[in-house]
Point group: C2
């Protein structure tokens, strides 16, 4: 045996291992049950990202958008509501007026039970008043600390460990195929971006959502005049329904090809519909609507008017059943 021959042989072996064990070999979505839905998702990603395919889409237009509460992580009770609640309770002794006003009265009296049913608008109002007067930096630091320490009242996990495993896999698979992933929160963009950075490693500036009013205030300093943003007790823009599309468009300015939302007060209908494009002959798109129908592992709830599911059926969106389509709910469970 000639020793010189060893190198090419090893090289060939290495190439063989690379070719067979690469991303094309492994299932990129192991937490998803094998189904037509899963196959549609995989086909869509392949069709839009394979060079030379007739349905190939330029990377600039390869865009996916996700709702957050109820889509990336559980929305019962609302994460942002729980964050507001601990501050509301701390501030409450100085605010006797909260004992007489909704939604403050209800939040302070009922706590997480109230947040289980509160609307996005009510949660945003709680958040705006709870942290009024904080600087943007203080607020962000407090949100980050809370996210790193608080646990979900039912699951006992931190919020960063509550990202649905199938969504984590989908985000990773999209990014591995040149998609940029944006998040539009019905809650405050500032809180959502902290959790998205922490739990999914996406850049915080790829997150938008509802807004609380801030104003610039001067900071005392001997040398130079300094400024900081001070949170006001006012909700400004609620990113629900059509406003969710507007918030998305202001951030991205290009239609998404894939949109993921969940059944909850019809809040994601317009975003999913918008992602279908305005032309019959447009690029391939996929819309996923997650149904919370898993009362054992998570929660089971629906809309009284079935608006989201009806829209899905009319428009050809993919209905995702948490109970049947997801083999695993959270990482490690």
């Amino acid at each position: 045996m000639h020793p010189q021959r060893l190198v090419p042989a090893r090289l060939l072996l290495a190439l063989f291992v690379l070719a067979t064990a690469g991303p094309t070999g492994a299932d990129p979505l192991p937490a998803w049950r094998d189904s037509a839905t899963k196959q549609r998702i995989l086909n869509f990603v392949t069709a839009t990202s394979t060079p030379g395919a007739p349905t190939w889409v330029t990377p600039t237009d390869r865009i996916a958008v996700f709702d957050d509460d109820g889509t990336l992580w559980p929305e019962k009770p609302r994460m942002q509501g729980l964050f507001a609640l601990q501050r509301l309770r701390a501030v409450a002794p100085t605010r006797p007026d909260w004992q007489l006003r909704l939604p403050f009265l209800a939040a302070l009296e009922l706590g997480p039970k109230y947040l289980q049913e509160a609307t996005d608008g009510e949660v945003l109002q709680l958040l705006a008043e709870a942290h009024a007067g904080r600087s943007a930096e203080q607020f962000r630091g407090e949100a980050r600390s809370w996210l790193e320490s608080a646990t979900h009242p039912r699951f006992g996990r931190r919020w960063s460990q509550l990202v649905y495993q199938p969504m984590r896999e989908l985000v990773a698979h999209l990014r591995a195929n040149g998609f940029r992933v944006f998040v539009v929160s019905g809650g405050s963009a500032e809180v959502s971006r902290e959790l998205v950075e922490l739990a999914l490693g996406l850049p915080g500036d790829d997150v938008t959502g509802s807004q609380v009013v801030s104003r610039l205030r001067p900071v005392a300093d001997a040398a130079v005049p300094r400024l900081e943003l001070e949170r006001q007790p006012l909700a400004h823009a609620l990113a629900e329904g059509p406003a969710k599309v507007q918030a998305y468009d202001l951030l991205v300015g290009r239609r998404p090809l894939l949109a993921v939302g969940n059944v909850h007060a019809g809040a994601d209908i317009e975003l999913l519909r918008y992602s279908q494009g305005n032309r019959v002959d447009g690029p391939p798109t996929v819309q996923l609507l997650i149904q919370h129908d898993d009362f054992e592992r998570e929660y089971a709830y629906d809309e009284p008017d079935m608006a989201s599911v009806n829209a899905a059926n009319t428009s050809g969106w993919l209905l995702v059943s948490m109970r049947y389509d997801w083999l695993q709910l959270f990482a490690g469970n």
Copy 2:
């Protein structure tokens, strides 16, 4: 000579070439005159991006923000005003009311001369009315086509060739050192992001600015209901002064370390001041204020109240003279 020796010798040579001709060897800012200002910029980038340095900043916080009109490219006449003007002229026969109303009357009568002096608010109003009724896609396509064909009335160049060469170099140097670069336009975010993508290769979603109101409208389609954003004749939010900081914060959510603006109606003062941080012991920051003092190569104009320059002097910002600090204005000139 042993042929086997050739390989290591070539390898050593290649390594030597790589080590000496790399970014550390060449001047990253050749269009900038050697000066204390240039040195401060270079030192700032080195200080914040060199691992192990006491002033090193994590890549997540390595953020730079640029104004666009007058900072990245000339603002006389306003690029977005010229884009609105060609559409205003086309639509004018159907809008006799414009003959009686400012700023439409002035724009139609005086054209680029009026746009030379118009405020950001007036330009935004012209743009909102000119393209009212267009879908977001139509509008973007028209903006892109116009940017690829229209030439500046004085320089005879397309707008993508009007990015100031020193700014182009600064953006590239920042990105090469792990900075993310965001743009906040006093004009409409939608138009600015097209030019930023086209001319600087930055992602369009890293641009924000003023807003025009849009509403969702249904598109007729046999199969599924489709939606598009329809531009309304209403300016919504003008990103000037404090509102520029708010627009920036909604997009990014983290303070910039470097902010670049120009002398014009004091519109960038708050953004630059905001970038100085709210703590004396914060990370290193740099603020650049560009002065249009080059009547030969560009324009010479100032603020009657000198507000921006006074703020620069009070706060230790770097004043950049186009005339003296920039050896080259545009690429190839």
